[in-house]
């Protein structure tokens, strides 16, 4: 804070700031007018949106009212294109939520059309290999195949050219340390995480009975072997800690069908709302904060968001972010 020798001086400075702001406002208004006029003349009002926004790609993109793959196409375009996140020749891990052996209409897993679209975009951006897997929620062996099948994700991903790999045996996992963690000192992660150049996190947003929300941050639990360790050592802190190790280049939050209550399994179709939305961001904390609002929860109640922010993984303050909201309908 600057110190002013007199009250007069302080007033002058404040006036100067006000004047500057007024000039900027007028300047922006004139630019806006010119842009509107130009775009009307040129017949391209859509450019208007791009003109008003500050330069650079947005921090978060939210699209609604389309099919999952259509929404993703639009969202990634608004985000600046898939090649911002996937480089030519890379090995990419696309990590959907395949937790339960439920069909897509129950909203318990990521929508298979979305997974398909993400995989296709990875290849279009030049990826050499795309892997898809999840260590499903069931704590016993033998259920993973049904989860992969009933969710439709295995077929969709394979159809798009991804290699769908298993996650249901300890032999695929290796122990790693997590520097900077509070509770989760070490964990066993799937070797594909260690082998991939980039991770694209594709969770489904849904209510969770015990953490209130499961979306991007919690989806990464499916990359570790011993989930019980999280439950034992403070679930919320461990979720946040793991994001120190695993930093997806992009989070694609499926909010097409959203389980609004009785999550994460859901009791039936009455828990599911057809919201037809999609959220896209590299900021894992921000996208989860938006997802929390989507399921009508206070983000402050979702403790792992606070812990994630404390780890500098992102921000919960959406007002500071450059957000593009787009309605396709």
């Amino acid at each position: 804070m600057e110190q002013y020798s007199t009250a007069e001086e302080a007033d002058m400075v404040k006036k100067g700031i006000k004047d500057r702001k007024r000039r900027e406002f007028i300047g922006k208004g004139v630019t806006l007018g010119a842009a509107m006029g130009a775009s009307l003349l040129l017949g391209d009002p859509a450019r208007l949106a791009a003109q008003i926004m500050p330069p650079g790609p947005p921090d978060l993109v939210a699209v609604r009212n389309g099919e999952p793959d259509v929404m993703f196409r639009k969202a990634i375009e608004l985000m600046g294109g898939m090649d911002r996140f996937v480089k030519k020749g890379q090995t990419v891990l696309v990590k959907p939520n395949i937790a339960f052996p439920s069909a897509p209409e129950y909203g318990a897993n990521t929508n298979p059309l979305l997974v398909k679209a993400v995989v296709e975009h990875c290849f279009a951006a030049g990826a050499r290999k795309v892997y898809v897997f999840d260590n499903v929620a069931a704590t016993s062996a033998g259920i993973a195949a049904q989860c992969y099948k009933n969710s439709g994700i295995e077929a969709a991903a394979r159809g798009a050219g991804a290699i769908v790999a298993p996650g249901d045996h300890e032999r695929y996992y290796q122990s790693v340390e997590i520097p900077g963690s509070v509770s989760l000192r070490t964990t066993k992660v799937h070797e594909l995480l260690l082998e991939s150049d980039a991770v694209i996190n594709v969770p489904v947003a849904k209510h969770h009975g015990y953490t209130f929300l499961t979306a991007a941050m919690k989806n990464l639990m499916g990359v570790v072997w011993d989930r019980q360790h999280y439950h034992f050592n403070g679930l919320d802190q461990c979720i946040a800690d793991f994001c120190l190790l695993c930093k997806p280049v992009l989070n694609v939050v499926d909010a097409y069908r959203v389980m609004m209550s009785n999550g994460p399994q859901g009791q039936g179709l009455s828990d599911v709302a057809l919201r037809k939305m999609l959220l896209l961001s590299s900021d894992i904390v921000a996208v989860d904060t938006a997802a929390a609002r989507l399921i009508e929860r206070d983000p402050m109640q979702v403790y792992y968001l606070k812990y994630g922010q404390a780890h500098n993984l992102g921000t919960m303050d959406l007002d500071t972010l450059n957000i593009i909201r787009h309605d396709l309908g």
Binding site: A138, G209, R227, Q228, G234, L235, R257, L269, A273
Partner: protein, 511 residues
């Protein structure tokens, strides 16, 4: 007089046995789906399961396979032993490996097999399956295949899977090997080695010493229409038939074939140069006698005394009502402890096909009367909500197949939360592993202050163990105990029919 060309019969038996061996291997090694397809065909005519099904479900349809089996025996002799019994096929393979060496006829040992059989049957009627479970040939085959052969096969398969994975080919999955507890393995190995050793040298000696099925079918085949018979007038005494007889039941010196012990393998028919052996009805000429009446009576007397004496001491074999936590958890479809323990012969086919590996062979969990019968172990797995592989496969009616809807409501246990072990209660931090896993929402989240606690609504619990398996504490904070009689849990109803998905009509985004 009907008689069939001898060479063809042996070939027929060999073909049938080969084909069925392949099918049995597929049943034991192929997984739940394959087993489900093959089991009605292969298992309907296994003697002991068929008998138990007939007793459990007193109806003509349930009794038909058993009646057909007994009828076939009365017609054709002990054909089950050579054509249908998987343990017989195992012994024949061992016998071949042993080189089919020259054999002298074996003594009948009638007393031994009648004692064991009478003991087995009487004990079973009084509620103890101790001998039945150990001696039933079908169950023995199931255990040998499931616990010795299958891990071997899986190891080989896993090797193949691991090799394919190097090339990013993930079509098959890596299977977890399940080794039974040491006590169970010891019993299985003991019998496996014993039968292997006996059949290597002595052919079907097991079948005629210890097998209750063989003994009973043997008794019936005394009166069978067709049988292998010796015409002493044409016999030159070369004794070639004795060298190939797997049961050691041809005694040329005395000029007799013991039809009690003949397993109708037709080996002897092809080697007789005089054609003195034939598979035919009794001729008008005097055929050589079966095992002497005297032997039979002595055997019965000995059996009777042993039986009475053992039963006097066997009150310990009958399980007293099992109380409290010591009652093992048994699969849905078993209906009650009594029904399960009195129908299960511990073939372990259910253990074999269980996808979560929650079904494990137990040693004495059900007492000696239920030796080797399986139970659910929630430290290893849980009973998957949508699965009923065990019920679809059980050949004896110990686990009855339930419709999916009924199975999802069948209560096999009840749950209890021990708050003094629960991390949420102790540390005031979120866990919810149990609540996440519960398929019937019998555990619901209850917010108290800043923390969500798991709360049990007992009416909806089906005792599947998903919570206990998921619980991260040791000893578990949430534990399921067995229901001795399986009732039905309440079901939470989904008020919204499939078509009416709520569509939120709001504008914009809520952030």
């Amino acid at each position: 007089m009907i008689s069939v060309e001898p060479g063809r019969l042996k070939k027929l038996r060999l073909c049938a046995a080969c084909a069925l061996s392949i099918l049995f291997l597929s049943l034991f090694l192929g997984g739940a789906e394959v087993a489900g397809i093959l089991s009605p065909f292969l298992l309907s005519f296994q003697a002991v399961p068929a008998a138990l099904r007939a007793m459990g479900d007193v109806s003509l349809s349930a009794a038909t396979p058993l009646l057909l089996l007994l009828g076939a025996t009365l017609l054709l002799g002990r054909v089950y032993c050579s054509f249908l019994c998987p343990l017989g096929m195992v012994q024949d393979v061992c016998n071949r490996l042993g080189g089919l060496r020259t054999r002298a006829p074996l003594p009948p040992f009638a007393a031994v097999r009648y004692s064991f059989t009478v003991l087995t049957v009487l004990a079973a009627l009084f509620g103890s399956f101790a001998l039945l479970n150990l001696l039933d040939p079908w169950s023995m085959s199931g255990r040998l295949a499931g616990h010795l052969l299958k891990p071997l096969a899986l190891s080989v398969a896993n090797l193949a899977v691991a090799t394919l994975e190097i090339f990013d080919i993930y079509v098959l999955s890596f299977k977890k090997l399940s080794i039974p507890p040491a006590s169970v393995l010891a019993v299985i190995l003991f019998f496996g080695l014993l039968i292997g050793a006996m059949s290597l040298r002595f052919g079907r000696a097991w079948c005629n010493l210890f097998c209750p099925v063989g003994t009973i079918l043997g008794l019936l085949s005394r009166y069978s229409l067709l049988g292998v018979r010796l015409d002493p007038q044409n016999c030159s005494g070369c004794r070639r038939c004795e060298t190939v007889c797997k049961a050691g039941c041809i005694d040329i010196r005395r000029g007799s074939i013991d039809r009690d012990r003949c397993v109708v393998c037709f080996n002897c028919l092809t080697v007789c140069p005089q054609g003195a052996l034939a598979y035919r009805p009794a001729g008008r000429r005097m055929d050589a006698e079966s095992a002497s009446r005297r032997e039979f009576l002595w055997g019965l007397a000995l059996a009777g005394t042993t039986a009475v004496g053992s039963l006097a001491a066997s009150t310990g074999l009958v399980p007293a009502g099992m109380v409290g936590q010591s009652v093992p958890i048994f699969p849905p479809g078993a209906k009650s402890l009594k029904n399960f323990s009195r129908s299960c012969t511990a073939c372990h086919l259910c253990v074999n096909v269980c996808p979560t590996r929650v079904l494990v062979p137990a040693y004495l969990a059900y007492g000696i009367a239920g030796i080797l019968q399986p139970r659910l172990d929630y430290r290893i797995g849980h009973c998957d909500f949508s699965c009923h592989a065990c019920g679809l496969i059980c050949p004896s009616g110990a686990i009855v197949p339930l419709t999916p809807a009924i199975k999802k409501q069948t209560r096999i246990g009840s749950v209890r939360l021990y708050e003094q072990r629960c991390v949420v209660h102790l540390n005031k931090k979120h866990c919810g592993a149990c609540g996440e896993a519960c398929p019937t929402h019998a555990i619901i989240p209850a917010e108290k202050g800043r923390v969500v606690f798991p709360t049990i609504e007992q009416d909806y619990c089906i005792g599947c163990g998903a919570c206990e398996k998921a619980c991260p504490t040791s000893p578990r904070a949430i534990v399921v105990t067995a229901e001795q009689v399986h009732g039905l849990a309440k079901k939470r109803l989904d008020p919204t029919p499939a078509a009416a998905l709520p569509v939120t009509g709001e504008e914009g985004f809520p952030f």
